[in-house]
């Protein structure tokens, strides 16, 4: 009787933890690519070390990307990106914290393709902005999820200004592509 009671306590204690662990999908190798396209110059940078966690049951989603992990074709451009635009010594990371909202009646854990919208707060360069973007989630039979999302960001919205001499080379609106493959923990 006494042992049974102990077992009960332990179960009560562990259950939420276990439930949490089983439910979460995560990765440390998510990819975020951004493009700036102007008639003068096309600029691309890739960060393939994005950390992200998704909870399919609640739709909670989070991203964290180290700004210095964005790699440019031109090393000097990468230095300027960090030094002059993102000020990555002051603001080392960019975050997103939000919620995946599937269409009514859809369940993210069902294998198949889900057209969803993602709503939440994007923080970079010390500025937080609320945004809602469309995304596509593909759930595999084993429960892993592939997420793809294209959206646009205006640097000026995040307090990132472009000096007039290079304004012809850097687009007002950047295209971002997020590609994440989530696996169970």
């Amino acid at each position: 009787m006494r042992n049974a009671r102990h077992l009960l306590y332990i179960t009560m204690f562990l259950c939420p933890l276990l439930a949490a662990a089983q439910d979460k999908l995560a990765t440390r190798n998510g990819v975020i690519t951004f493009f700036s396209s102007t008639p003068m110059e096309d600029i691309t940078a890739v960060n393939s070390k994005v950390a992200s966690v998704l909870v399919p049951s609640s739709g909670a989603i989070e991203f964290s990307a180290l700004v210095k992990a964005f790699e440019f074709r031109k090393a000097m451009m990468q230095e300027h990106f960090n030094e002059d635009y993102m000020e990555s010594d002051k603001f080392p990371k960019a975050f997103f914290k939000g919620k995946v909202m599937p269409p009514t009646g859809d369940d993210l854990s069902r294998p198949g393709i889900h057209a969803v919208s993602v709503e939440g707060d994007l923080t970079m360069h010390g500025v937080t902005r609320h945004l809602t973007v469309p995304a596509t989630l593909t759930t595999a039979a084993d429960g892993s999820v592939k997420a793809v999302c294209d959206f646009k960001v205006k640097p000026i919205d995040y307090g990132i200004t472009v000096p007039s001499v290079v304004r012809e080379k850097i687009a007002d609106t950047l295209d971002l592509k997020v590609q994440i493959t989530y696996t169970k923990l």
């Binding site: 306590y9 662990a21 995560a26 992200s52 966690v53 989603i61 000097m76 960090n82 002051k90 493959t181």
Partner: protein, 321 residues
């Protein structure tokens, strides 16, 4: 009765404990960052970058070097002495000029060549980054570079300033070398300071009393005033008791760095005419405080010639699809 009360108390104690524990676990779960499940970030090594906007403070080498595959085309210009007055349009009538190409062979090793109008000199150098200041994942507090440079004048025999009447002309008589250890630290986003002890060796000097080797110490620094503009200063002190030095003085330079995209513009006031080590460390003739100041500029334009990470990046983006 007493027994029942004790059992009840025990029961209460245990259940209260259990409920508290369970609630605490739930709360911890609800409050924590989702990303915490990934554990702490794996410490990545990040070296300090952009200690200076350019590989030169003003005349002398800074502790920055070019990344692998980057070509830097440099045009440096020093007008005449401001003290020449209106007759020379405050020096703008004259010009000393250096054209140079620098290239990053690896992230640590860069090479450069240049040609100056000053004594029609060709110069070249190697700069090797031995120690790298670390921002994250390691502990190195300073950056240390080794710089070896050489210069050779291509003046006709009669014009080489250190040739006497009977000096045989030979290539080695035209050569000089400079070796420096550049050590410095980016103390904060806005402040970088460096010291550069070194020696300049001239293969041939004008008089028997003059020393071939001149020990010197350079000091340089920059203060950022905005994201793209920095103030710079540089001084080269030639150690005393190294033989007669005619009227040569120590080199002082004050400047402004302005960076726009791939260009860095360096504007400066300096008492040095030449832009390679032998010239500005050992042959600076102007007296800064008597107005013997050159206005000048360096323009640096970088080109990415070779992209060392292209393959890896392509592979990663393929994997993501």
């Amino acid at each position: 009765m007493a027994c029942t009360t004790r059992m009840f108390k025990l029961f209460l104690k245990k259940y209260v404990l259990a409920v508290v524990l369970a609630t605490a676990t739930l709360m911890a779960h609800a409050q924590g960052d989702l990303l915490d499940v990934l554990g702490p970030d794996t410490p990545q090594v990040v070296y300090t970058s952009a200690s200076f906007k350019s590989t030169r403070v003003i005349n002398g080498q800074s502790l920055e070097s070019l990344p692998k595959g980057v070509l830097d085309f440099r045009i440096s210009h020093r007008f005449g002495f401001v003290s020449n007055g209106i007759q020379d349009f405050f020096g703008l009538d004259q010009a000393s000029f250096r054209l140079g190409f620098d290239y990053g062979l690896t992230d640590r090793l860069m090479v450069g060549i240049g040609r100056s109008t000053y004594q029609k000199t060709v110069d070249g150098f190697f700069k090797y980054k031995l120690l790298r200041q670390c921002d994250q994942g390691c502990t190195m507090p300073v950056t240390l570079d080794l710089v070896a440079s050489t210069s050779a004048t291509t003046l006709v025999k009669q014009q080489v300033p250190w040739y006497g009447e009977n000096t045989p002309d030979g290539f080695s008589n035209r050569l000089a070398y400079s070796f420096q250890v550049v050590v410095g630290r980016k103390f904060s986003e806005g402040l970088t300071l460096q010291l550069s002890p070194g020696v300049v060796h001239r293969n041939l000097v004008a008089t028997p009393e003059a020393h071939n080797d001149l020990m010197n110490v350079g000091a340089g620094g920059r203060v950022k005033v905005s994201k793209r503009v920095a103030l710079t200063a540089e001084y080269f002190y030639v150690l005393p008791d190294q033989g007669p030095r005619e009227n040569f003085r120590n080199s002082l330079a004050l400047g402004v760095d302005i960076q726009t995209g791939g260009h860095v513009f360096q504007l400066q006031f300096t008492n040095s005419t030449g832009m390679f080590e032998r010239a500005f460390i050992t042959e600076t003739s102007g007296d800064f405080f008597q107005g013997d100041i050159h206005f000048g500029f360096n323009i640096s334009r970088v080109f990415t010639v070779y992209d060392p990470k292209a393959k890896a990046r392509r592979r990663e983006s393929e994997l993501a699809k």
